[in-house]
């Protein structure tokens, strides 16, 4: 029996870097990997980024606390397709997430980059369908808050 829930969240952040630099942190595979993919508590199995409209991004990660949290060895994976790329202005992508090979969400994310003085205002909107075994809206939003915080640290370090 399927059980599907839908939700939307919106995050806005300001970065002390130009739209060109903030956008490059999403488009350049090494940069994206540094703030988006590598993380404490995770062991990276694979990561690929083909940054063009219709291109794909995929990652697979072992969650080191899997046994403690889920009672079993746990691998998360995601599949992304880039729907729209307007350099330095807008990014739209669709992605699904799976735990141990079982898909639990499909989302549409829009990232808007707007010049704001010497910096950038970034607006992130995610529409998600969560189903069996899903994390849910609150945890997903929290996850993106953390990632967008890591982006801030990455931009400050690479300035």
């Amino acid at each position: 029996m399927t059980n599907t829930n839908h939700g939307t969240f919106f995050i806005e952040r300001r970065y002390d870097a130009s739209p060109q630099r903030v956008f490059a942190a999403w488009s350049d595979a090494d940069s994206k990997r540094a703030w988006h993919v590598e993380g404490k508590g995770w062991e990276l199995h694979s990561y690929e980024l083909d940054f063009r409209e219709g291109g794909r991004e995929s990652g697979s990660f072992r969650f080191l606390d899997g046994v403690k949290v889920f009672g079993e060895e746990t691998t998360f994976s995601n599949e992304t397709i880039y729907d729209e790329i307007i350099p330095n202005e807008r990014l739209i992508f669709t992605y699904s997430m799976s735990r141990n090979g079982k898909r639990f969400s499909v989302s549409l994310a829009t990232v808007e980059f707007k010049g704001d003085g010497a910096g950038t205002r970034l607006m992130f909107t995610e529409h998600a369908a969560f189903f069996e075994g899903a994390d849910g809206l609150q945890m997903r939003e929290q996850g993106w808050q953390e990632l967008l915080g890591k982006l801030d640290a990455f931009l400050a370090k690479s300035a």
């Binding site: 399927t2 839908h6 939307t8 729907d83 729209e84 669709t94 699904s96 499909v106 549409l108 189903f131």
Partner: protein, 151 residues
């Protein structure tokens, strides 16, 4: 150009006399879907293409004779046989992308027939389209599905 994004969600619920298996087949079988998933009768249309599997694509285009061509390009993200289909799709008017959406189709058994719940979560781009117009168009498609199921 001034870029803008309008975000919206709409839900359509319909009751059909056909069984969930029959309603699901109208989405899954390319020949069935091509019969009802089309624009108005007087439109010029392309062939409808559907590769019904997770990761598969669907496409169709059409428009009034000599007018703007509407392109629909979809990717299938999730299939639960008889119960659920999740697709993402983008619409173009000629070469302009006007929206990217995620559509969830849920099919549930209801008495001798089915209940269909369609949820669309969309990003409508640069002022070309809005959720109200999209919802009206989608309602019309589900009317055509009803006529298709009755045949």
């Amino acid at each position: 150009m001034q870029r803008s994004v309008s975000h919206a969600t709409f839900v359509i619920e319909r009751a059909y006399k056909a069984t969930p298996a029959k309603v699901f087949a109208a989405f899954a079988d390319p020949k069935s879907k091509a019969q009802w998933f089309v624009g108005p009768d007087n439109w010029e249309k392309s062939d409808h293409k559907l590769d019904f599997r997770v990761g598969g694509k669907e496409s169709v285009s059409g428009g009034p004779p000599g007018g703007v061509v509407h392109y629909y390009n979809a990717t299938i993200w999730d299939i639960v046989e008889g119960e659920r289909i999740i697709t993402s799709y983008e619409m173009h008017l000629n070469k302009t992308r006007i929206s990217v959406s995620v559509g969830t189709t849920e099919i549930k058994s209801s008495g001798a027939g089915s209940k269909l719940i369609y949820t669309e979560q969309g990003a409508f781009l640069d002022g070309y389209d809005d959720a109200g117009e999209r919802e009206r168009g989608t309602q019309e498609l589900f009317n055509q599905l009803e006529r298709h199921l009755a045949r």
